[in-house]
């Protein structure tokens, strides 16, 4: 069993707004082992990014971590002094952000931005850091790296900027790299290259990775374990093959059903999840997913939220029903009715076409 690198216990991150308290992260427990890749999936606004920012204590105003523990190699992150947290960021845990277009400083040379990530910590001397910049850019496959270090971000393409971000994240050889939707802003061919790159780096350097995404394909190709988040809570967690083969929470099931899969039977329709994630300042009572759940029963609305229960080897899910208990005919109804007329219209032409092809 690998050693536990990061342990998050009962983390609550809340935003104190004029509309009330927004519970962005609401009692999250998970861990990352050394060298492991963990996927964190969920729709937009379900607390994935806030969980990651909480780990680095970078939650923006007016939010803050209200309770819970974040242990990195046994050290409590929430109690670190300013100097300790500064040295922790980028050195022990590095983060790659969503939008490579805005995440680099436009008026500083790319090489200098990578270099200062190293000189901020004591691992490399200034001279060594300067030499490593080219090496890092080469490692993330930036062509003509020697000349490119003197370029500014606007002279880089989107994919190259994301590579520069990854180089920056890896510069101190952190034990954990948090990648927040590293491929969403990129086009598909570049996405594939970045995924290949991250896979390779994980293998070569043994860096543990926490991959935040809503892209199921990315999770399938990169991760060993998956955490599914909904409305600031973890609803399912388990090894990636198990989650893909037999998801037990209806939300996970719907997420997996909502993307086309090459290996699935062609007659299966794509499922869209009805409605929107709840307003996190006024979450629904009971199970937070019940208003959108196709398999909802009375108990989901009245009883308090179900606990994370063991549903398989190393797999837990937060549901009263569980997918394996759903009747075959209900499943068929959910599959066919899930792409309702309105939803199909809303998805517009290209998405509807995919659905149509799958149906024919």
């Amino acid at each position: 069993m690998a050693q536990t690198l990061l342990q998050v216990e009962d983390l609550h991150t809340q935003f104190f707004t004029s509309r009330g308290v927004v519970r962005a992260v609401d009692g999250v427990n998970f861990h990352v082992d050394a060298g492991e890749t963990l996927g964190v999936v969920g729709e937009s606004g379900c607390g994935k990014t806030m969980t990651a920012l909480s780990i680095l204590r970078l939650v923006p105003d007016p939010g803050r971590i209200t309770s819970g523990r974040i242990l990195f190699r046994g050290k409590e992150v929430t109690r670190m002094t300013d100097e300790e947290i500064r040295d922790f960021r980028g050195n022990d845990v590095a983060m790659i952000f969503q939008d490579p277009m805005t995440s680099l400083n436009p008026v500083t040379k790319v090489g200098n931005q990578i270099e200062e990530a190293m000189t901020a910590h004591e691992r490399f001397t200034k001279v060594l850091a300067r030499g490593r910049v080219v090496e890092l850019l080469k490692r993330v496959r930036v062509p003509a790296a020697e000349a490119r270090v003197k370029d500014y971000p606007h002279q880089f393409s989107g994919g190259m900027r994301q590579r520069a971000m990854i180089a920056m994240g890896l510069s101190n050889e952190p034990s954990l790299l948090i990648a927040d939707e590293p491929t969403t802003a990129l086009d598909v061919t570049v996405q594939a290259q970045i995924i290949q790159l991250m896979k390779q780096l994980n293998r070569e350097l043994g860096t543990a990775m926490m991959l935040i995404t809503h892209n199921m394909a990315l999770v399938a190709s990169l991760c060993e374990r998956v955490v599914v988040m909904y409305a600031g809570r973890i609803v399912e967690e388990g090894p990636v093959e198990q989650i893909f083969r037999s998801p037990q929470h209806p939300y996970t099931w719907s997420l997996l059903r909502s993307v086309p899969r090459v290996d699935e039977a062609r007659k299966e329709r794509l499922v869209s999840i009805k409605g929107l994630p709840p307003d996190l300042s006024h979450s629904p009572p009971g199970c937070k997913f019940h208003p959108r759940c196709p398999f909802v029963i009375e108990r989901c609305k009245t009883d308090p939220e179900p606990p994370l229960g063991e549903v398989g080897v190393n797999q837990v899910a937060r549901c009263w029903v569980l997918m394996r208990n759903v009747k075959e005919e209900d499943l068929e109804v959910a599959k066919t009715s899930a792409l309702s007329k309105e939803a199909a219209e809303r998805l517009k032409a290209p998405a509807a076409e995919v659905g149509g092809n799958a149906g024919s």
């Binding site: 952000f97 008026v107 901020a120 500014y152």
Partner: protein
């Protein structure tokens, strides 16, 4: 070299020897500066055209004595001949009423003035016998420029400093005090501030200390008599600069790349200096050019309140007495100051923002 359709390649119109220069950054910059300086010639020409037209459209003549005894026709005639005002103001090339070309003549007032300006001769002043406009400008401008430059030197540290501090400590007492001061400074007219300062630091301070400590209420010397005019002049631009700096810095603090900088583990000082300020001060620099031009061209009010023989007052007096050459000379000087200040800002831009390309 790629050529964008409909747009000539850079340096396409330059002779081959110069075209090679556009390849290097400093060469491109040099060509840019030279071109902008050459552009000042048509700019000044049009400033002259507009000023000349407005000046002669305004009723009255330089020899009118407001209210009092008027000069006799003979004297007016002699003066007109002496200063060339007997010549036509401007002779067109074509007469629309008759449809005939008019024989070209060089000796109308406008063309003569342009000819003289081309030879750096700005003419004789009407108000002061025998003094050239150049002499008058050289006499009065140093006073104004000294005060203006000193005021400008106050704006950079104080205006920018207050703005940055207010932004970094947003919604704290420091922020409220700074912005309260900026609002008050921006809303008080400077003749009120000037007069209040004279009362406080000259009159009351003199009385309270029995004449041991006070600031001179008027006059100009390179001593403490500069303090009050400089402060009065600088207060308003300081307030504006502080507000602009604060707004720009607050916007930058929320940018993604600042979060990246924190996530790298940079200390706060480096996050602020290298990432926040390097970006947030770009718009501030843009406004500092026009601010500098505004300051060194003088404030009539400040010069009047503190009795400084500067160019701001000279300009107003020249307008009142229809001293045409003086009006034109001052306007040309002001337009050059504005053009040069803007050129300096544009050149600075190249160094502070790598995204800017010289065109």
């Amino acid at each position: 070299m790629a050529v964008i359709a409909g747009r000539p390649a850079r340096g396409a119109l330059l002779p081959p020897q110069l075209r090679a220069l556009t390849g290097t950054r400093s060469g491109a910059l040099a060509i840019f500066v030279v071109r902008r300086i050459l552009w000042m010639v048509p700019i000044v020409f049009f400033v002259i055209v507009i000023t000349f037209t407005l000046m002669h459209l305004a009723p009255g003549s330089p020899w009118d004595k407001g209210g009092g005894r008027q000069l006799s026709d003979t004297v007016v005639n002699n003066l007109n001949i002496r200063y060339g005002l007997n010549k036509p103001v401007f002779t067109p090339w074509f007469d629309f009423s008759t449809g005939h070309f008019i024989p070209f003549r060089w000796d109308d007032q406008f063309k003569l003035y342009i000819w003289n300006v081309a030879h750096f001769d700005f003419g004789l002043s009407y108000q002061y016998q025998g003094k050239t406009v150049s002499t008058l400008l050289l006499e009065s401008w140093p006073y104004t420029a000294t005060i203006g430059v000193l005021a400008f030197l106050l704006i950079i540290p104080i205006g920018v400093g207050l703005g940055v501090v207010a932004a970094l400590r947003q919604n704290t007492r420091i922020d409220y005090i700074t912005m309260g001061f900026a609002t008050i400074a921006a809303s008080f007219p400077n003749f009120v501030i000037g007069a209040l300062m004279v009362v406080a630091f000259s009159v009351l301070a003199y009385r309270a200390t029995g004449g041991n400590f006070y600031l001179p209420a008027a006059g100009f010397a390179m001593d403490d008599s500069l303090i009050m005019p400089v402060v009065t002049l600088a207060l308003l631009p300081i307030a504006y600069t502080a507000r602009l700096t604060r707004a720009s810095t607050l916007e930058t603090i929320r940018q993604d790349f600042v979060r990246t900088a924190w996530a790298k583990g940079l200390p706060e000082r480096l996050v602020v200096v290298r990432h926040v300020l390097k970006n947030s001060l770009i718009p501030v620099v843009t406004t500092l050019g026009p601010t500098f031009a505004f300051l060194v061209t003088g404030s009539v009010i400040v010069e009047t309140v503190f009795a400084i023989p500067g160019i701001g007052r000279a300009f107003v007096v020249a307008i009142e007495s229809r001293d045409y050459p003086m009006i034109l000379g001052t306007t040309i000087l002001f337009s050059l100051v504005v053009a040069i200040a803007n050129l300096v800002v544009d050149v600075l831009y190249v160094f502070i923002d790598p995204r800017v390309r010289l065109t």
